[in-house]
Amino acid sequence: MIPGALREAVARDGETIVYVPRERLLDVMTWLKETPGQEFDYLVDVTAVEYRDRERPLEVVYFLRSLKRRADIRVKLELDPSEELWVDSVWELWHGADWLEREVFDMFGVTFRGHPDLRRILMWETYAEGYPLRKSFPLRGRFSRAEQVRQALNANPEAHYSLEELSIADAAGDLPDEMRDRLRRGERGVIPEPPSP
């Protein structure tokens, strides 16, 4: 049994699943990566699963691999979807987690604390319809097609650059007031909460 783990299970494909409490995630991951005999030095994937059954917790799943031992393990973390979804980032351990965690944040709204650059990756920064892979998100999106087109046509071209990029280009003077304010405060802007269904 891995120290700090809640319980272990075996998946249908024969892989070991280790359930870890959110508070112990980084300890367990560091242990898995650095203990001789474990040496899970390769992060295969990070993803999340939300079940159709609303009672079941949302799971964040880490697929780990030891390239040396040619062994795999799956680490799961259960989150209560009615509360704030946050997890500690494992970016310090595996830099490959960078985009993978951003994608989970983008698609499920799980915040990764300590991630160096947590922002949307597949959807654009000002996307306001919510988190597409959540079960409460309708297949065709929350806004009507007309509203989506209207927003796309009204989009400010500057919005295609992140604030960080604009600060390089010295483009702050040409920005709309609201964006310049955000830039001055050093903020990326708040991603709007999805409207209640």
């Binding site: 998946a11 249908r12 494909d13 892989e15 030095d41 390769y42 992060l43 295969v44 994937d45 993803t47 699963v49 939300e50 079940y51 159709r52 059954d53 799943v61 697929f63 390239l67 040619r70 795999d72 799956r74 595996w94 830099h95 490959g96 987690a97 960078d98 985009w99 993978l100 994608e103 698609m107 949307r120 990756i121 597949l122 959807m123 654009w124 597409p132 892979l133 998100f137 297949l139 295609h160 650059y161 992140s162 960080e164 990029e165 390089i168 280009a169 483009a171």
Partner: protein
């Protein structure tokens, strides 16, 4: 950051006293721009970004200080769509992820669904799927070779590579009726057996293909321009490649010999005789060498697969999973019921989850399926190899020239359909 000195000796303004053309350096040093950084936007519509990738690059003179990739322009929500479809209905979506190797994607998904449902496929189907995977590897690497050589200024290999790719596309068309969107697998089998003359044509291909590879090898591998543009460009050490979760040729070029076909075999790959090329320096040149050698190895696997192709059914004998033939469905009551139930309700998977990684041309393609006992998955996750490989681009491009950024980006071998899904 290290600055590179650009030296050129190409201008010939005249002849000297002995009649030889005098060579004067055009520029001996990079112009000093006084520390002013420039922001350059490349893409999303740009031929050298291999799709709708957008790079925002901070430049100091011609040196890349920082590269910020923006993806998502081709986001289609396949994973979300999959939650609303039966398992077999998802297979056409997998064509459209990595559209340069559609057959391998079909196989990856079908294997995951079969693992979830506990289905063992037939021996003939296993070998045919190996053929599908290796044909995909060859066409994908041919596109990579062609486009990368164009990016670096070599036009001829592009034509040769695409010619070979066309021959495989003809084979795919023979088999499935489609060149690009093949949808060749079904859960528990294949959509069709290979047609007559397929084996003959494939054998013909495997005999002549190494000749083209040899020609490409001759024009590129020791070509001064090619070597100069690719060696020591975008190098990653083994530790870095592992840390960035790279997979496939990108990982192996850095010296980590992990190949899913060898280390976690599926489809009986352990019974084939092939080698896994491993690079040493992890630069663009080594990635080229690894991919070129993989084409030879794929060709070897294809030859072995064609030789051992057993007779027998392609589909498992389970009426709950495989549709009965049209004739039987129209004449046999029981077959008609099974047909109806499969079309209307789909194939139900037991509660649980399954992950399978397969060695796609781009890297490890993972399919992770979670089922709650219904005919539609709760979650279908694609582990997109080129998405993860691309995430190391800022690290690789740092400190290189802008033109090297193009070479590095090409060496990642991205397909935006898969990056954005």
């Amino acid at each position: 950051m290290s600055k590179r000195t650009v030296e050129m000796a190409l201008a010939t303004p005249g002849v000297d006293a002995e009649g030889r053309p005098t060579r004067v350096p055009l520029a001996t040093q990079e112009p000093d721009l006084g520390g002013e950084h420039l922001l350059v936007n490349i893409g999303p519509q740009h031929p050298a970004t291999h799709g709708v990738l957008r790079l925002v690059v901070e430049l100091d003179g011609e040196t890349v200080v920082r590269c910020i990739p923006h993806v998502g322009y081709l986001h289609s929500g396949f994973e979300k769509l999959g939650e609303y479809r039966h398992y077999n209905q998802i297979i056409p979506l997998t064509d459209r992820t990595d559209y340069l190797s559609p057959m391998a994607n079909n196989v990856g998904f079908a294997l995951a669904a079969e693992k979830l449902m506990g289905i063992d496929i037939t021996p003939r189907c296993t070998v045919l799927r190996v053929i599908a995977c290796e044909m995909s590897r060859i066409i994908s690497h041919m596109v990579w070779l062609g486009t990368t050589s164009i990016d670096l200024g070599a036009f001829t290999p592009f034509l040769w590579a695409f010619q070979e790719r066309e021959r495989i596309y003809d084979l795919q068309e023979m088999w499935t009726g489609a060149r690009l969107t093949t949808s060749v697998t079904r859960v528990g089998g294949l959509m069709a057996d290979i047609p007559d003359r397929f084996v003959e044509k494939l054998r013909e291909f495997t005999q002549t293909f190494p000749k083209t590879l040899g020609e490409i090898d001759r024009v590129l591998t020791r070509n001064a321009v090619w070597v100069g543009r690719t060696q020591n460009v975008g190098a990653l050490t083994a530790a870095e490649a592992t840390n960035y979760s790279l997979s496939g040729p990108m990982l192996r070029a850095s010296g980590v010999g992990y190949d899913v076909r060898k280390d976690k075999p599926y489809l009986g790959y352990e019974t084939y005789d092939f080698d896994v090329p491993v690079g040493e320096h992890g630069d663009v040149y080594d990635r080229y060498l690894v991919r070129l050698e993989e084409c030879y190895q794929s060709n070897r696997i294809l030859q072995q697969a064609v030789d051992r192709l057993p007779d027998g059914p392609i589909n498992v004998d389970d009426p709950r999973v495989i549709l009965p033939s049209k004739t039987r469905a129209m004449s046999d009551m029981e077959a008609m019921i099974f047909h109806f139930k499969q079309v209307m309700e789909g194939v139900k998977a037991p509660v649980g989850e399954a992950y399978i990684g397969i060695e796609n041309p781009k890297g490890e393609l993972g399919n992770y399926l979670v089922s709650d006992g219904t005919a539609k998955p709760v979650r279908w996750r694609i582990r997109p190899p080129s998405f993860i490989n691309l995430s190391a681009l800022p690290k690789m491009a740092e400190g290189h020239l802008l033109s090297d950024l193009i070479a590095i980006n090409a060496s990642v071998d991205i397909v935006m359909g898969e990056v954005d899904r």
